[in-house]
């Protein structure tokens, strides 16, 4: 579990009583953000009719996220495009940088994913109440449910709504942590079985690396698309 350790880099920084030292986690957050900014800055610098590679990359990502949002949350979600784009890119880059050996996976820490998920949850709830007032509570009362079942359904709906930030954060955190732990375990097998028996876990390790890269993309996508779905609930009250 050494790979998940957070270590202070440089001196201890204190803001009053609170310790906000720069750590390896902070380092990889900064690296991811800077990488995103560099790539997308390069991709938006020149506006050529036939895009070069990096411009194509930036524009494809732009239209990918834009399509994802308009498909799941409709046109009303356009003001939140920049946020969801940043969120998707941040999670994706953190996941992907975590795939580099000896690096640190920011999203494998529950506190990071929980803060993101809680921010989304609170933000979506506030948007819902701003858009619909107390009518937003109709979200918990699905239409077409028999009166007898209604109390039960409402309780279930409220529980499911309140568990959103937990499910959202734990999904990402658990996926990243489990993947990295599994790679570690297979890596340990390679070492302990030595040159004779180590080939099998080594091949597993290679296969898992591919799988983990897929998971890294997929979890970022799931995180972003669930945000869109929650946003959709808040913007277009269907129930």
């Amino acid at each position: 579990m050494y790979q998940f350790n957070v270590n202070r880099i440089g001196p201890e920084i204190k803001l009053g009583e609170i310790d906000i030292s720069f750590t390896n986690a902070s380092l990889f957050m900064v690296i991811s953000s800077v990488a995103i900014l560099i790539i997308f800055n390069l991709g938006s610098k020149k506006n050529s009719l036939i895009p070069n590679k990096i411009q194509l990359l930036a524009e494809l990502s732009y239209s990918f996220v834009s399509k994802m949002i308009s498909d799941t949350a409709g046109s009303k979600a356009k003001p939140y495009f920049a946020f969801i784009f940043s969120l998707f890119m941040f999670v994706l880059f953190c996941n992907m940088f975590g795939m580099i050996p000896y690096s640190f996976t920011v999203t494998s820490h529950i506190i990071v994913t929980f803060v993101l998920a809680a921010f989304i949850f609170v933000g979506v709830t506030i948007i819902g109440f701003i858009k619909h007032g107390f009518g937003y509570l109709k979200l918990f009362v699905p239409s077409g449910v028999p009166m007898i079942l209604l109390p039960l359904i409402v309780v279930i709906e409220i529980i499911s709504y309140l568990s959103r930030p937990i499910s959202l954060s734990v999904r990402l955190f658990a996926n990243m942590m489990a993947g990295h732990t599994m790679m570690k375990v297979f890596g340990g097998f390679v070492v302990s079985l030595g040159i004779i028996g180590g080939w099998l876990p080594l091949s597993f390790s290679v296969a898992l690396t591919g799988l983990e890269i897929l998971v890294a993309f997929l979890q970022a996508y799931v995180f972003a698309i669930l945000t869109c779905i929650y946003l959709n609930d808040a913007l277009n009250l269907h129930h």
Binding site: M1, F4, N5, V6, R8, L15, I18, D19, I20, S21, F22, T23, A25, S26, M29, V30, S32, S33, I36, L37, F40, N41, G43, S44, N47, L49, Q55, A58, E59, Y62, S63, P79, Y80, F81, A82, F83, F85, S86, M89, F90, V106, S108, H109, I110, I111, V112, V115, L116, A118, F119, V122, G123, I126, I127, I130, F173, M177
Partner: protein
């Protein structure tokens, strides 16, 4: 509105943070709260900067680029469509010109053929009438000759007979008696010599 949401969010975080007690457990460094605040701080900072730069500077540019490309492509398509229509009109005009000239050529051809035919007919008619005239004259001459022939033959026959008798006998014979014999003979043999 977004700023308001962010501020409210931050307030709620700090309220939550006060309740977070140290829940250190053995195995997982993730549950060690030692650096939680630091992580939250740096996450907020980096993600905040990322969000602001992306939303204010980079994303509008990319969106503008995409929009510009789209409009330019649409424009190009429009021009291409216009040019296609123009060329279609030109082709139609061209075809019409060709059709017109074909019809004209046909008319010229027909006219000249008719003219030539007329000319030819006229010439032939005049020629035929001339030939007919000539034929008529010749026929008349032939008929004349035919009609005169027996008389002349008779005359020649009489003179010849006269001369022959004179030579043979040495005396004059009456002309009228010879001519009577000749005429009698020629009457007898008429069909034989002339086919009449």
């Amino acid at each position: 509105m977004l700023k308001k949401i962010i501020v409210q969010n931050l307030l709620i975080y700090f309220a939550l943070l006060k309740n977070v007690q140290s829940a250190e457990s053995g195995g997982m460094p993730q549950l060690n709260p030692e650096f939680w605040v630091s992580q939250i701080f740096w996450l907020t900072l980096t993600f905040g900067i990322l969000y602001i730069v992306l939303s204010k500077l980079i994303l509008p540019k990319i969106g503008g680029n995409l929009e510009a490309r789209k409009s330019q492509i649409l424009e190009n398509i429009e021009t291409a469509e216009k040019q296609r229509k123009d060329s279609e009109i030109k082709i139609k005009e061209f075809e019409k010109i060709i059709l017109d000239s074909k019809i004209k050529a046909k008319n010229y051809f027909n006219d000249s053929r008719k003219k030539i035919f007329d000319d030819l007919n006229k010439k032939r008619e005049t020629l035929e009438s001339e030939i007919n005239e000539e034929i008529n004259i010749a026929e008349k001459e032939i008929i004349n000759l035919k009609n005169n022939a027996p008389e002349k033959i008779n005359k020649i026959a009489i003179e010849t007979s006269n001369d022959l008798i004179k030579q043979l006998i040495g005396m004059e014979v009456n002309n009228s008696s010879i001519s009577a014999i000749v005429e009698d003979l020629s009457k007898k043999n008429r069909g034989k010599y002339y086919g009449v």
